[in-house]
Amino acid sequence: MSQELVTLEIDGQTLQARPGSMLIEAADAAGISIPRFCYHKKLSVAANCRMCLVEIEKAPKAMPACATPVSANMKVHTRSEKTRAAQRDIMEFLLINHPLDCPICDQGGECELQDVAMGYGNNQSNFQEIKRVVPDKDIGPLIETAMTRCIQCTRCVRFGEEVAGLRELGATGRSERMEIGTYVSKAVVSELSGNVIDICPVGALTAKPSRYTARAWEMRAHPSIAPHDAVGSNIEFHSFDGRIIRAVPRDNEAVNECWISDRDRFSYEGLYAHDRLTQPQVRQEDGSWRVVSWQEALDAVATILHHIDANRSAAFVSPTASVEEGYLLQKLMRGLGVNNIEHRLRQVDFNHADSSSASLNLAELEQQNLIVLLGANSRFEAPLLNHRIRKASLKGAKVVAINPQALDYNFDVQQVVVDSANLLNAVASLALAVAESAGGLPQALRNLNVQATDEARAWAEQLRSAEKKTILVGGLAAQHPAFGALKALSNYIGEQTGAVVSVLPSANSVGLSLAGVVPAPNAETDLNRLLASDLNTLVLVNVEPEDFAYPEQALKAMQAADQVIVIAPFADDRAREYASVLLPAATFAETAGTFVNIEGRWQSFKGAMQPKQEVRPVWKILRVIGNSMNLSAFDYMSAEEIVAEVKLETQGGKAAKTSGLPEQLVTSTLSQLPQPVHMYRTDSLVRRAKALQEMVALTPNAVSGV
């Protein structure tokens, strides 16, 4: 390897760098700081801000480090008089038209322009003319613009084209009239749009929901994990005065790189919804609600649970719940003899047990040669997983999408549209084509009575011949009556062809499945049949009717039950109608917990904020209930202790992988297919995030099944 590297010298330090890499990369790797605005490690090189000019020996002029490839024996000086002079001059140019409104700018205190001007600029300017003014644009509810501050680095433009895959912002006009914007008045709608706020080096693009609420130096940072999709993006909450002001990405190359989705960025707004539950409450005989002490509320819960009819009871928990919360809930319910426990609330077919092996690796996804999306609207189900698929596609991977309708992807994809009724047959035909060449024909395929079409044979051949391949079964498939069969067939195809098969779970579904938040085999395993049965006691942990595949059916079941124990951060008017007890629960921002992502990666987090008023973490509420029901082994001191127990029980989270096809594939019969859910309506927190709700009407196609 070492012969392949180039040796060069920066500031007298001898370095080695990959040929073709840029000077700025070599300097960054060695910890030598070179100021920059337009350069961003994840974007293409524009070299238009000129801030990274450095002196290179034998070169007549200072050269931009971001666009100068390393070469052997190059001698670079980043602090010489020539470099310093270049930096001072460029800084003076950049400040010519930049307004002096730092005191009222949201970027103030975390502004790259401020920092670099301080470090490398001059303290006076030769410019005495009038600065230019650029009208601000309204580009939607998420991003605030102050375009006079823009220094035209074009990071946001390149981000749209290269990362979001949706070119919405551009540089129109030229010379001193050049402006960044959308040209025609419209909202920026990419599901990753909020990232331009982070990459904008000045205060031109700032977060609209949090503007003018706190200064950067007043805020405290709290690391956390985003709960809304199965990526488990690493985030950081910023708080001021006991309140979360915003969420920003935390770098983790293996998971979310340096990006987060808009859903993960702006969902925090829901924390302060008007129907936030802050006091335990018990319903009175006359139907009115009384605020009570925790003791009284827990006594009421104990009374209900002591008289529980285990067969007519069920516990439902949101897929965004932590492993700890799910584990304690199922432990409590099983301790009471209740086996109807479920978190896969939008799934409609529960035949053929889950065999998802969590074998997908996000970083490896971008190295694939062939990716098959089966019932997956990946852009809106897991935006940063979709970003990996997009990167694979840009590198030349073939992506095939088999869906009941044509969908809006942001990369080259061959869309195969098969209507819902024929989806199973289409996949079975592919499995059959795979089986033909593998030799044996499993009984299940014989029973299905389908033919391997020539088209299917061609696909099978492609699957076999591709070197690295992945089949991703998505959320639209989870809302298909043959979901179980589709998974089983996909797994079979994967086994025969060597493709990685992964089921895109909703939120923390992998973790909750490991924690046992699924019905016991002898219980009613079909959620929709269970909801239609005569349930009289329900325990709802952060669950609302909209969390189910059929919200109306779920609401009916909740209204029909005699006793409904609600443990949730929110209670709307409907909850106040069907609930018997309301226990105010902490959200993921206010308690410690663990999420397991699609890769099977366990990520624990601490609470960013103390819960307000009488709000308590779900795991503590469940612990106390467990103790009051005299269940054994409910004396947990911390979330860490609980998750350690789950890890022990699941051998570190390695789910058993089933192999081979069952003899007979079974599907569900649905009177109607469920409505897909909008990506900003997926869980109770997101549904209460104001800015995201304004985006719903602007992005009608951003729907999925998870």
Partner: protein, 169 residues
């Protein structure tokens, strides 16, 4: 991007589509953006300005993001994007150094007076538009000069300007 929809693009005229296809044929299949300037020229030629509607239609026809078309149209000074600038004859009087030294200012004010409009405006009958021209048009040896649509007129005097403009249909 998803596959290009083969739409029945009715916003673009038959001639405009023909013109775009002519340019498309000169470049590789996957380099449709190469036909963008040709497309904008065709629209400009027909309507004397390029509307957002036309730009969106071009974007769709070429499979480009709409903003890429807006960028190109707003960058090049030969494309007018403001409907109030649309006129059959676009007059650019060079006011750069050589022309200025040779009296371009008086030529410009003569035209303004003659047509009854200011630079940056079009006559109400949409016949003439006086463009605010900032760049040197590269005819210094025959300054002062002006450009009317694609034609250069050099060594201007007030009388010469009159006869040029009066001679236009």
């Amino acid at each position: 991007m998803t596959e290009l929809h083969s739409t029945n693009n009715s916003v673009l005229s038959h001639h405009e589509r023909e013109e775009i296809d002519h340019w498309l044929a000169r470049y590789p299949e996957d380099r449709k953006q190469s036909a963008l300037l040709g497309a904008l020229r065709a629209v400009m030629h027909g309507e004397n300005y390029v509307s957002v509607e036309k730009m969106d239609a071009i974007a769709e026809y070429l499979g480009l993001p709409a903003i890429a078309v807006y960028e190109a149209a707003s960058f090049y000074s030969m494309f007018e994007t403001d409907p109030s600038h649309a006129a059959r004859y676009s007059i650019s009087v060079c006011t750069n150094v050589s022309c200025m030294l040779n009296g371009s200012d008086s030529i410009l004010s003569h035209i303004e007076k003659k047509l009854g409009i200011k630079a940056g405006q079009a006559t109400p009958d949409k016949k003439f538009f006086i463009k605010v021209e900032e760049e040197c048009l590269a005819a210094c040896c025959n300054a002062p000069m002006m450009q009317v649509n694609h034609v250069y007129h050099t060594d201007l005097t007030a009388e010469k300007v009159d006869s040029i403009l009066d001679g236009l249909e």
